[in-house]
Amino acid sequence: MSEFYFSLPLLLRLALQGVAVIAVLFPLAGACSMAERKVSAWIQGRPGPSRAIVPWLAWIPGIGFLQRLGVFHFTADGGKMFLKEDVIPGHVNKFYYYLAPLVAVVPALCTVVFVPFGAYWDAATAMMKPIILANTDIGILAVFAVSSLGVYSLILAGWASNSKYPFLGGVRASAQLISYELSMTLSILPVFLWVNVPGGEGTLSLFAVVEAQTQPGFFGGMWNIFLMPLSAFIFMVALFAETNRQPFDMPESEADLVGGFHTEYGELKWGLFFVAEYAHMFIGSGVFMILFCGGWNPLPWVSLADLLGWLGGFAPIFLNPVVSGLIAIGIFLAKLIFSIFVFMWVRWTLPRFRYDQVMKMGWQKLLPLSIGNLIFYAIAIAIIERS
């Protein structure tokens, strides 16, 4: 089976891998909208969506549990979006109006190329190898470069809607991105200072960051969140702002901007914006988990290789590259899902910031904080590496 796969031309193989990843990411992003409704409902003390079911599925015993979880609402929502009447406002530029949701989805799904989402045990070299679509050395730089393209779709949507509130939403989105991208990038520099030992070969690869968190020893096995809590905090706040999640959802704040950039959008075009937002959340929290929470390592100071070695003692099947890869992806996905849950949890805890508060916090609080953080860690790492 794997021989046949590796006999395929490289281009076809890469295309297959890409389609496979998107085929997982896209429904996951859609399912997130369902999870959002459920978590919102539970926090508000109500059961949430729990009614929809396909009639002939209702005959299967035990499926009531899934119905109560609202699993079938996911498909019902999708079907509704497909079948809804497509209302196009008469005063918009149709080309740009249609382009905006596509521009939203493309960068959101493209960033996944540079994010490793697991590792497998390569018996030949006795090393962990990354599961990643493009194992490039520019890793994090490419993620930031491509994911920030997503804001173009918001600006385009706001502008093409030819209406005041969406336009304000688009302008806010761009201003917010600029304010928070700076502190976000500055906050992760200490991580890469720590990963790239002086004299060694420098890399921005995300896989190298996870490798650095799987080294033996107290500092080696420690997750970066314990080593650099301030960096992690700044990154997380910036991540909330970048993905336009509450309490930073300035571009779509329905209290003052009706619906923001997607006010004039309906049906599947609106759905695409939301898939893009959730895909951004997935990639963003994936990067957070890789940078600060040890990626696919199950516990601090317990690396995936340790776990596989321990499991391999029981059955050698666990050292199979496919099985070990699936375990790694499973651990990573579990962390991602927890992170998405935190996004939803914070949403119902914090009230939305006012726009001036968002700007003030970005420029006057987070940016100086992240610069100070960078200087502190630069000096601290220099002292540690010197000795």
Binding site: V39, W42, G45, W348, T349
Partner: protein
């Protein structure tokens, strides 16, 4: 006029970062997340209806299975939105209930007009019309929303009668006393 200056304490550093407050808030919301849900899931679970609730107006029978309504039309006159229509009718002389004299031939209540004010129940001298605990009314057409006499009796059923006025009337009649 005397003023009292309220002392505003400056926020501590921990308070200015908001982090303890945010974590406290997240603790609160998490408690709500795992708490039992408070929603009443309506079609399966029904709300408890207290006595005296003013639901849909219905017609009731007395414990002998007779119509209580004597088609006096007081409810029709008092009804503010004019939702009630009554066509009075006589009771046939050979009927065992002939001493009641009158009963409605038709009795319609238009639920699209009814405002559930309860004046019909207040005004009814025979306690024949009652607002009971039916609260969920729906239909596919305007005609369906008009409750006719048969439907009103189905909804109303039988209520305990405290007066047995007609029984007393009949007993009096049989005793040769026709003054009523």
């Amino acid at each position: 006029m005397s003023f009292k200056t309220v002392e505003r304490k400056p926020l501590t550093l921990a308070e200015r970062t908001y982090i303890p407050q945010i974590l406290g808030g997240m603790k609160t919301t998490f408690k709500h997340l795992v708490k039992p849900k408070e929603t009443l899931e309506y079609p399966e679970a029904r709300p408890a209806i207290l006595p005296g609730y003013r639901g849909v107006p219905t017609l009731v029978m007395d414990p002998n299975g007779r119509e209580k309504c004597v088609s006096c039309q007081l409810c029709e006159f008092v009804c503010p939105p004019k939702a009630i229509r009554i066509k009075p009718g006589e009771i046939a002389a050979e009927s065992t209930n002939a001493h009641v004299e009158k009963a409605p031939e038709e009795f319609d209540i238009d639920m699209l007009r009814c405002i559930y004010c309860g004046l019909c129940q207040e005004v009814c001298p025979e306690e024949a019309i009652w607002l009971q605990n039916v609260f969920s009314v729906s239909g596919y057409s305007r005609d369906e929303m008009v409750n006719n006499k048969q439907r009103l009796y189905e909804l109303g059923g039988t209520l305990p009668d405290q007066h047995f006025k007609w029984d007393k009337k009949k007993a009096a009649e049989e005793a040769g006393n026709d003054a009523h």
